[in-house]
C-alpha cells in the first residue's frame, strides 16, 4: 500500500508537467484547430534561455519571469510571422509548418548550447517534502505551480473581458468578429500564452530530466496523450488528463513486469490510440459533428 501511495504521488508530480504541456497544446488547438508539434521544442528553447540568464548571474525567479515574458513575445511573433499566413491553407501545409518549426528550434538550440546534458537548478530544493518520504519539495513545488497556473487561467478566462473575448474568438469566430473582437490578435494571444505555459513546464521538468535539446520529445508525446485523454477542446480536461496520464504511467511501470522506463513512449502511443479509438472527444471534450 505504501508503494502504491508513493507511486500515485510521484505520478501526480510528473503528471503536473504533462498537464502544463497539455494545457499549452490545448490553448493552441482551441485557437487554430491544429496540434502544435513544435510545442515541446518551444518550451525547451525557453528553458535554455532561462538557463543562460542564470549562467549570467540572474537570480532564479527573475530569470523565471523574464523567460515567461520572452516566451510570450516569441509565441506571438511566431504566430504573426509564420502561421498567420497559413490560416486558410490545407492541414498538410500547417503540419509541414509545425514540423519545420520543430526542426529549426531543435537544431538552433543544439547550435547555440550544443547537445551535452546540463544540470538545471530547482528553486524548491530536493529535500523530502514536509518530512514525508513520498515526494520531494521539488515535486510538491511542481504540483503547486501547475495548480496556481490553472487557477490563474481559470480566473483569466472567467472574469476578464479579454479572456471572454478569447473564448468567443475560439468558439464562434464569425460572430466574435461581428461584435468587434479582433479575432486574429486573439489567436496570437493564445499562441503567446501557450508558449509561456509551455516554458513553465520546461523549467519545471528540466531539473528532473536534465537540460538538453531533445529533452521535451517524450514530455510532448505525454502532453499530447494527456490533451487527447482530457479532450482537446477542454483546458480543464487537459489538466486532469495530465495528472491521470502521470499516475497511469507510474502505476504501469511499477506493477506490470517488463514495462519500465524503456517502454515509456510505446505506453504513450498505446494510450493515444486507445483514447482516439474508444472516445475520440476525450473525457471532457465536446464531440465534433461533421457537416456534409
Amino acid at each position: 500500500m505504501e508503494l502504491f501511495a508513493n507511486q500515485v504521488l510521484a505520478g501526480i508530480a510528473t503528471g503536473a508537467i504533462y498537464a502544463c504541456m497539455a494545457l499549452a497544446v490545448v490553448m493552441i488547438y482551441q485557437a487554430i484547430d491544429h496540434l502544435n508539434f513544435a510545442q515541446g521544442e518551444m518550451a525547451m528553447f525557453s528553458t535554455f534561455i532561462s538557463w543562460q540568464l542564470m549562467q549570467w548571474g540572474v537570480p532564479y525567479w527573475l530569470a523565471f519571469v523574464l523567460t515567461l515574458g520572452f516566451s510570450f513575445v516569441a509565441g506571438i511573433a511566431i504566430e504573426r510571422v509564420l502561421f498567420k499566413p497559413l490560416a486558410k491553407a490545407p492541414i498538410l501545409t500547417n503540419v509541414a509548418g509545425f514540423i519545420a518549426l520543430y526542426s529549426i528550434i531543435n537544431s538552433c538550440a543544439g547550435l547555440i548550447w550544443d547537445f551535452t546534458i546540463k544540470q538545471y537548478p530547482t528553486p524548491f530544493g530536493s529535500a523530502p517534502f514536509l518530512g514525508s518520504q513520498l515526494i520531494s519539495t521539488h515535486q510538491a513545488g511542481m504540483i503547486g505551480i501547475t495548480l496556481l497556473m490553472l487557477l490563474g487561467l481559470f480566473f483569466f478566462f472567467r472574469y476578464t473581458r479579454i479572456g471572454l473575448a478569447m473564448r468567443a474568438a475560439a468558439s464562434v469566430p464569425e460572430s466574435a468578429r461581428l461584435v468587434g473582437i479582433n479575432t486574429s490578435w486573439m489567436i496570437a494571444l493564445g499562441w503567446g500564452m501557450a508558449a509561456a505555459i509551455g516554458s513553465v513546464a520546461g523549467m519545471m521538468i528540466a531539473p528532473v530530466v536534465f537540460l538538453e535539446p531533445n529533452m521535451m520529445l517524450g514530455v510532448l508525446i505525454y502532453g499530447f496523450a494527456a490533451a487527447v485523454l482530457g479532450g482537446l477542446t477542454s483546458p480543464f480536461g487537459a489538466v486532469i488528463g495530465g495528472f491521470l496520464v502521470g499516475i497511469f504511467e507510474n502505476l504501469v511501470g511499477t506493477y506490470i513486469p517488463g514495462v519500465g522506463n524503456e517502454l515509456k513512449l510505446p505506453i504513450a502511443l498505446a494510450l493515444i490510440i486507445t483514447v482516439l479509438v474508444v472516445k475520440p472527444a476525450g473525457l471532457f471534450g465536446r464531440p465534433i459533428v461533421k457537416r456534409v
Binding site: P85, P90, A96, G97, S107, G218, V228, G258, E262, K290
Partner: protein, 337 residues
C-alpha cells in the same frame, strides 16, 4: 464555451491533384531513365552509394506520396515502417541466411500487414489526429526496437551488421554498382506499379476519398477498406525501401529510425510536390544532399536548414517540384513558339 455541439465543415486535408498531373510524359521519363542508367558508369563508388540511397529514399517518399497525395491521409510515422522493413531484411539475412533479394518481398508483406493493422485504428482518425497518432508511432519505434525481449534477433541497442551482396553470375562489376542497378530495377518496378495502382479502380477510389470522403462513400466506395488499404500499400512499399536501405548501409540500429527520419520523408514529399510521383526523387535528392551541404557549413545545422527551406517551399512554391516543373514546361512551350 457553449454547451451546444460544435459543427465543423471539415477542411480539406490535401489539395486535389488531377490524375494526369501525377506522372511525367514518356519523353521526359526516358531521359531520366537514361541518366539514371548511365551516370554510375562514370562516377566514383561513393557517389554510386549516394545514388543508391537516393533511389531508396525516393521509394520511401513515393510510398508516402501514395498515402497522402493519393488517399489524403497523413503519416508522420513512415520511419516506423521503414524500420520494420530494414529489420526484417537484416534479421532474415543474418539469422536465417536468406538470400538478400528474397528478404525484400517478405519485408514488404510484413510491413503491409503492419500498416494495414495500424490503419485500422487510424481509420477513425482524420487530419491532425492521424498526424498525431503516427507521430507517436514514430517516436515510440526506437524504444520498441531496443526492447530486451527481442534482443535475440534485433541485437538491442547495438543493432545488426549486414553483409553486402556480390554481383551474381560472375558479372564483372563492383558490389556498389551491382547494388545500384538492383535498386534501380526495383525502384522502376515500384514506380510503374504505383502509377498503375493510382490509375486503377483502387486508385480512383483513393482519390475520391481524398477529395470528399462522404461523397465517396455515397458512391459505394468502401471507405474503411480503401483507407486501410492505402495505409497498407504505403507501409509495404516503405518496408521494401527499408529492406533495401539495410542492405545498402549494411547496418541497422534503433537510433537510425527516429522521428528525424519520418520528418525527412515527410519533407521530401512536400518538397517534391504532394501527389506528384516523379517529385519523390526530387524530394529524396533534397533530403540526401542538403544535410551534406549544411553539415559542411556547421555541424548540427541541417535541422535548421531543413526547417527554413521547408518554410520557403510552403510560402513560395506550395506545390513543390511539381510547380517548378510546370513553370519550366510553360517556359519551354513559349520558347518553341
Amino acid at each position: 464555451m457553449s454547451a451546444a455541439e460544435e459543427i465543423v465543415a471539415e477542411g480539406q486535408a490535401v489539395e486535389a491533384v488531377p490524375k494526369r498531373a501525377m506522372t511525367l510524359g514518356t519523353g521526359t521519363s526516358l531521359v531520366v531513365l537514361a541518366v539514371l542508367l548511365l551516370v554510375p558508369l562514370v562516377v566514383k563508388n561513393f557517389i554510386i552509394f549516394q545514388m543508391t540511397m537516393l533511389l531508396i529514399y525516393g521509394v520511401a517518399v513515393l510510398a508516402l506520396n501514395i498515402l497522402t497525395g493519393g488517399s489524403g491521409q497523413f503519416s508522420l510515422g513512415q520511419s516506423a515502417f521503414y524500420a520494420i522493413g530494414a529489420y526484417t531484411s537484416a534479421i532474415l539475412m543474418e539469422t536465417f541466411n536468406v538470400n538478400y533479394a528474397l528478404t525484400l518481398p517478405v519485408a514488404g508483406i510484413i510491413c503491409f500487414g503492419a500498416g494495414f493493422l495500424f490503419g485500422q485504428p487510424a481509420l477513425r482518425l482524420s487530419g491532425v489526429y492521424l498526424a498525431l497518432a503516427t507521430f507517436a508511432l514514430a517516436t515510440a519505434m526506437p524504444q520498441l526496437l531496443k526492447l530486451g525481449y527481442f534482443e535475440k534477433w534485433t541485437g538491442g541497442v547495438q543493432g545488426l551488421v549486414v553483409e553486402k551482396p556480390d554481383a551474381p553470375f560472375g558479372l564483372p562489376i563492383g558490389q556498389d554498382m551491382w547494388l545500384y542497378y538492383f535498386t534501380l530495377a526495383i525502384t522502376i518496378a515500384i514506380y510503374v506499379a504505383s502509377i498503375n495502382l493510382l490509375r486503377s479502380r483502387s486508385g480512383r477510389a483513393f482519390m475520391a476519398i481524398r477529395d470528399n470522403e462522404i461523397a465517396a462513400s455515397a458512391m459505394g466506395i468502401n471507405v474503411a477498406l480503401y483507407k486501410t488499404l492505402a495505409f497498407g500499400v504505403s507501409a509495404g512499399i516503405t518496408g521494401v525501401a527499408g529492406g533495401l536501405g539495410a542492405i545498402a548501409v549494411q547496418f541497422v540500429a534503433p537510433d537510425s529510425f527516429t522521428i528525424t527520419l519520418a520528418i525527412q520523408l515527410f519533407l521530401g514529399m512536400v518538397v517534391g510536390g504532394v501527389g506528384w510521383l516523379p517529385g519523390s526523387i526530387v524530394g529524396a535528392a533534397f533530403i540526401i544532399f542538403v544535410p551534406n551541404i549544411a553539415e559542411g557549413v556547421s555541424k548540427g545545422l541541417s535541422g535548421a536548414v531543413f526547417g527554413v527551406l521547408l518554410f520557403l517551399v510552403i510560402f513560395l512554391v506550395p506545390h513543390g517540384a511539381r510547380q517548378v516543373a510546370m513553370v519550366a514546361q510553360q517556359l519551354v512551350g513559349k520558347l518553341k513558339k
